[in-house]
Symmetry: D2
Subunit: 345 residues, 4 copies
């Protein structure tokens, strides 16, 4: 079977997914839609696909699945429409910046029994996957403490920041998901502190650029996250898991692995400076996993529920900063009547 | 000038200091005192020193300085007595487990205008000193976020834990001091979470064995600390400082730097498994710095005030765990009328 | 312009080049030829190309360039035929196992003024290219001593070894080329020692499995090469260049960069275990460079002459082992009347 | 038992041994002799020893062992005199620069049944010892190929070079000894190439400053050595052993293990820049091993024979450079009638 794709949004991340889809022997990129005709055409031409409207893709019989790469405020609506239309949906994170809107959207997906995968690409990074596998094999015993350092090479434009929902919903959300992915137990409380150290303009826009977080589970497991919007040495993405029998860590990635030695010392080049080159392989594996779900009609992971919980953690973090206390995730999310949202894990 | 030493306490840490004193060409170990006559004799014999009582050392005219390595509950009294007797005092941390008792003791030291250094040995580790120096040279710009991972190879005996004042006063206290040493600004608030993951008996003794902490300064700088009483791979002691222009990290230390490669991968030996071998050089440099202070009659660093503040941070951490909120250090320490306690830094 | 390709040989390395060609936006794979119809069909189908005979590709007007991945003993003939037919030729190394045959072939290429690139893929490895660039920038001053360690995960089948021309022509030939690539001066003498340590059957087949080599240039620069047909820890490919102002090294590559710590130590996974995954990016860049040459009609590097000299170095190495002495390359190659063979560098 | 030492020679290396002797609880430094009275006095005073003449030490009843740190051309005579006087002898390498003189000297030692250890300090480096131990435990299977990189931070004064016997006898001799130490089999042939790349004055003095060597054993094991008199990045001392089941390597050592990251990359400090700081621990272990031999009256290792063979390898290397061929060690050393010279290993 070949999964036939429609791509919604031909921007930066849309191009990444277009490449991943076309490079996958089990998929075909059939159509591209974008409000900017030129962008849609360029991308469609490059891969031998057609340009279509979103509506046309929605009703097309030759499309099995869509990849949603449109602006965030369109995600929830598009997910609902395509889920109802019986298409499998891959949507870039976040589903929405509002927890209640996400819940409503997931209800529609559930009723439609649609396949929905949310784009937490880091779960598919080969190095982080190797950590997950080593934990599953029991190589470090019981997981106890996770340390995540996640720093961007530089802050995004202020305009982006203003629409981003803030550092926790935009940036830390990936780290929340990785913490959940690796802890093997739901996060119970969130403590956070945040400040503006990189650029006062970010503060003026109502956001933070530097944050530290502590997460705990009901059984007492810990995770800490350190975020900064600026790292002169590149895209700093490290995860370390300490367990009862040992520890495991994923090193940072650099495009070139050389070392120059001279009187000043031994120098290796900076890290990747862009998330797309850092996570190239992750994006390829992510789409591959989605294709496997579509083919096998099995539930997708990370699921809509994973997207919901990560967003709730971001809300809890913001509340913790504002109130100077540890915030229960249940304060944000309410008691989850149906724990099946976690089934994917 | 040769600084003539009396050593109070011939136990494990006493032996470390005896070696450091005798190996220093500017010092001489004159006398050793210990409640256990046998221990005192053995150590004195090894280095050609005499066995004396504490009182004899106190009144001796051939003793310039003492190193206090007796049990914690004797520290404050001994500091006061020797300060009043005009001896320079090096005291192992902590001065006392009670903040008010420490304050009272420091008042006596201050009135006696005595030299007092507190044994935060890590400040003298060559690698951490190199970090401090690089920061001072501006190599990473403004300090923004410090990440400390500090894990013991294994938990001490329960009996020790019961008398230790708890994980924050016994173990994290070193990390608080390192955070202060490197932040360049006083810590304002402490948030902590702690749990029992290593050994339920530690919990039964009223303590924790796993802790995460977030510290912040008035200007918004962050420090995070991760502690565990057990690390199968050795004595895990890492510090990383993220700044506006770069970052700097001290790697873990191992006794042997080899790597074996085979079908299972590339393996380096575990870390040092004991704080004394890990910090051998730090202990030597620490006593050397103390000797320099005695010779030059200049204020010692880390000072009694450094000991006081670190203890207050520990108390704040415990309060944070109990109350689930960020605790101001001033809640513990009160407004420090005389900021001169910080002068040493 | 799009360069239209014919692929001769649909085996293992043929597949690698087919992928590289089709992934390149400036190229198109038009036709595949292989003595095994099934192999040709499978590969052609995967990439939307046609199956044709070699003769059909030779006379096709819709083919600009060919990639020769057929057995070694057909290389020289095919190069000559396609050069005469005006096609640009990329040929896997070696051109032939016989120096005189290679010379004759290059004469034909020269007369036809054809573009010929020889497949020394390692020149296009990003890490080795970074070394080359750093040298060119003067970062380590004058190159003085090169150390190459090059070990295969395991020996190839005996049948392959028997037809390979021996370890120097089959395996070391890549290292000779890298030494030349980085030395910046032609190699003058070769000293080699070789033995059978891995598998007596390799010795019985008249070959060696372990070799050490020393190369020197007229000005006294050194290169050493260490080869083994077996490395339990993966595909060991290291290059280090020592210069007057510093040194530069390329680290080994592994598919996953994690490290597990436990009581036995710190373990990273083994290296890549296959040259194709190790050099994936190099193969892509190699074809890209070839396409650029075809487009710009500029001389290709590595050239036929590079292939010739590397082969001569292999012959010199074998002679050195047999005679227990340093062998001049000119003993093998004769005085090169026309040094233009080196122009490509 | 306490071993009572006389030290002959109070220069740079004499001071190293004086410190090692006095720091050892099983030894005492009794007397120091030096042609320069001032040097002898200064060193004796520092450690509470006496100044004596060589003759007085020779006949002293309170001296069990001597450490010979005098100029090379006095070594053989002093060894003979002290061996005949019944003292245990530790002598810095080399015994002499002439193979026949060394043989004669060892004959005297043998007849006197004296204890003689030769100062190949690297055998006592903790990292190289760990390699030796891992090999002995079978962790890498059969040793097959050893790679030694050994480069000095800078060339010694020309005056030193003129008296040194040349790079092979002065510098490579340590690497020859390490190769023998780790190969587990005697070296059979030596091939070397050498040139002047660092400083023409070294060439004018009749020596080389850059050398590459290949060694082989009768069973076909290999060792390669790369030497340079200049490494801008510090004292480069690496050993790697490739075996049938894996490989093991000792990393370079640096005084400080930090890493600074910024826009230019990740930089670690240079290596140790001096052999004495690099091999501090080795010198301490070396004297400790000698003391154990003196106490137990067991044969010392590295023995006089080890010194002889390493010198012969140096002579073979020089001959190989001059004649452009592989040189048999037996050409230099003759057939060793009594293989007992190797017993120590």
């Amino acid at each position: 079977m070949t999964v036939r794709f429609g791509l919604l949004g031909a921007g930066r991340i849309g191009k990444v997914h277009a490449r991943a889809v076309t490079a996958n022997s089990k998929a075909r990129l059939v159509a591209v839609a974008d409000a900017m005709a030129e962008a849609a055409t360029a991308l469609a031409d490059q891969y031998g696909a057609e340009v279509r409207t979103i509506d046309a893709i929605l009703s097309a019989s030759d499309i099995d699945a869509v990849v949603i790469c449109t602006p965030t405020d369109t995600h929830a609506d598009l997910i609902e429409r395509f889920a109802r239309a019986g298409k499998a949906v891959f949507c870039e994170k976040p589903i929405d910046l509002d927890v209640e809107r996400v819940k409503a959207c997931l209800k529609v997906v559930d009723e439609a029994a649609a396949t929905l995968m949310v784009g937490f690409n880091r779960r598919f990074d080969p190095h982080f996957q190797a950590i997950k596998a080593a934990i599953a094999e029991g190589q470090i015993g019981e997981v106890e403490m996770i340390t995540i350092v996640s720093r961007d090479p530089g802050a995004p434009p202020l305009d982006y920041i203003r629409r981003s929902g803030g550092i926790f919903r935009d940036m830390t959300i990936h780290d929340f998901d990785m913490a959940r992915f690796l802890l093997g137990e739901e996060i119970d409380t969130v403590s956070a502190q945040a400040s503006v150290l990189v650029d006062p303009a970010i503060g003026a826009a109502g956001d933070y650029d530097s944050a530290s977080l502590m997460l705990s589970t009901a059984s007492g497991k810990h995770a800490t996250i350190s975020n900064s919007r600026r790292a002169t040495y590149g895209y700093d993405q490290r995860i370390e898991v300490h367990g009862s029998k040992g520890a495991i860590a994923a090193e940072n990635q650099r495009p070139v692995s050389i070392e120059i030695a001279n009187a000043e010392g031994y120098t290796r080049p900076p890290l990747h400076d862009f998330f797309m080159t850092r996570y190239t392989e992750a994006y390829a594996r992510e789409i591959s996993a989605f294709i496997d779900c579509v083919e096998s009609k099995s539930p997708a992971t990370p699921s809509g529920a994973d997207g919901l919980v990560a967003l709730a953690l971001a809300d809890a973090a913001l509340k913790s900063v504002k109130q100077g206390r540890a915030v229960k995730v249940s304060e944000i999310l309410g008691p989850l009547a149906d724990k099946s949202v976690f089934q994917g894990r």
